[in-house]
Amino acid sequence: MPAQRPPLSALALLVAVLLVGAWIVFFRSPPASNSAHGSDGEPSDRAATTLVSADDTAERSALDATAQDDAPPPDPELANLGLEERLAAIARLEGEILQQGASEARVRRLEALLEPLLASPPTLLLVLDNLVAGKWRSTAPDAATLDLVEYGGCRALYWGLVSFHNPRSRFHDADQGRALFVTILTDLPALDGKLLSTLVEQLLRSEVEGKPLVALYTAEILELRAFFREHRELFSKLFARLGDSMTPEERDRFFTIYLSETSDPLILGTALRNLLQGANPDWALSLAEALFDDPTTSPEVRNAIVQALVDGLQDPFKVADFLVERIDQTRGLPGAWLTLARKEGGFNAVEAAYNQLAGSNANAKARELLVASMRNASASELERIADIAFQDPSPSVRGQALMSMTSAPNWAATQKSMDDLRSAFAGGVDPARAAWSAGNIAKKAAKTGAVDLRDDATSFLEELVHDGSLPDAARHAALEELKPFLSEVEWDLLKKGIAK
């Protein structure tokens, strides 16, 4: 049968779409600077700067159509604040509320600070413009901090999103809410660093009556994800909480399609996690196994599958079995193992898997990783790890047991633990693991003011550093553990000792 020609109208449509796409990609002007706005805060026309489609004009028009006739008279004290002062004040006040509690006076003051912004969506848009243009950006002291005004700007956008979507708010306006959400979405690819992660956090955490707002905008997120292919994972991230308000059946319906996204581990992992919490977790588990066992699956996708299993699969015994059976591929994923026992019933699952292997002295690496996850044990379960530290036939498993015990949040450092460590080291535990365990003891002892114990632990570390019969790597491990307890000069001297 001859191939059917596409109709002429379809071709014309395709050409038009390609032309529009090319125009957006090649002729998009840089983000609008603040000077593009009038002094009254009216935003400029940014249709060409950020949006993908002509819908932008509609979104922006909705934002510009401001009418809040029923707004109460502004607080005279706060009415005259400029935009930057207002945003900084919002950031400061929120910090105060989170630190000292939400008194009625503080909440009222916050509402008064927010009110002119919520009543004027164009001003919120101006805030977004300035964030995108980097107007309030200065060199941050470290990657974890944000300028006060920038942070206040992100928070104002958050309150705008939830207020516009909240039917109980007097600023409720679904069109404004939609316009703001979509405009922020389309601006995300122009941002980076802490500002980007903070703004993504605002989108992810915004919810009304327990339903995340991202659930209302899945079509837009998918469209942008397809358009900005180089920022695909950024948009995939927004699906992280999408399943939170879904029924198991809804999760199955929504997420199944993303299992084929093997080039985007983030969305594949999110999809798998949701399907494991869906109506048919056994089916999802068998899919996960098949995909993991496929030799063409990349290490990144395997990592995402393991994380999805640890986070999504309810039965910790099945997760432990999965990890142990595939030890050659999962041994390089310590994060997943370390949190396995945190699941409900997780310690029992880990202990059962360990006992099964220990009985036949099999698979020392799997035993070691199972013991690593035991650090989340309760105080009574810690005894079990102490037994393993002396009874397991493998020195690396015994060394791991010492590390698990001494790093456990529920473990209190005692002199006996240091004595046990010395005898375990004499019994063959490798020096690097002994050094890390001693470092754990020294840090915990220092924190509780147990000076003698701290000194005993650091003396042991110094012995390891000085012992020329030990491998250099182990001596360096001990040296690193000593760093918090020595002056720079003392530490340098020890380091030079190893070099000799």
Binding site: L98, W159, S163
Partner: protein, 145 residues
Amino acid sequence: MKLSLVSWIALVGTLASALHAHADVGTGTAELRGCPHKQATLVDSEWTEQGATQVCAKGIKLADGSTWSPTCPENEVIVPAHGECQGESHQGTLCVPTGVLNVQVGECTCDPIVHVGQWVAAGCTCTNFTSAGTIENFTTKPCDV
């Protein structure tokens, strides 16, 4: 065309030396027979959040019911940069283990937003990092050493 015995000997000798030369070019030396021709892949250090997300107890609730509660992961895990044998090809080398490196885990707690002058730090602090586990480290070695 017929070849004399001398010609045959000369031809075989030439072929043998050509094959020997080819073997040297292809694998370096005779010791490289059995060399897997693989190298270690360097994996960058990684900071990941682990465990369920804690919604911090202290939040903000406006009169219209709109709320904000900061969140925190339970743990932060630091896996150091290390080498892995992922099957990457490299002529004349093999991927070998060099021991283990320590993996650190910090406990995260909700912390009010901290203002330091004009800066804001996140409302979540991960501290008390301890060495909780290990990761194997691999490196690349020449096959003929």
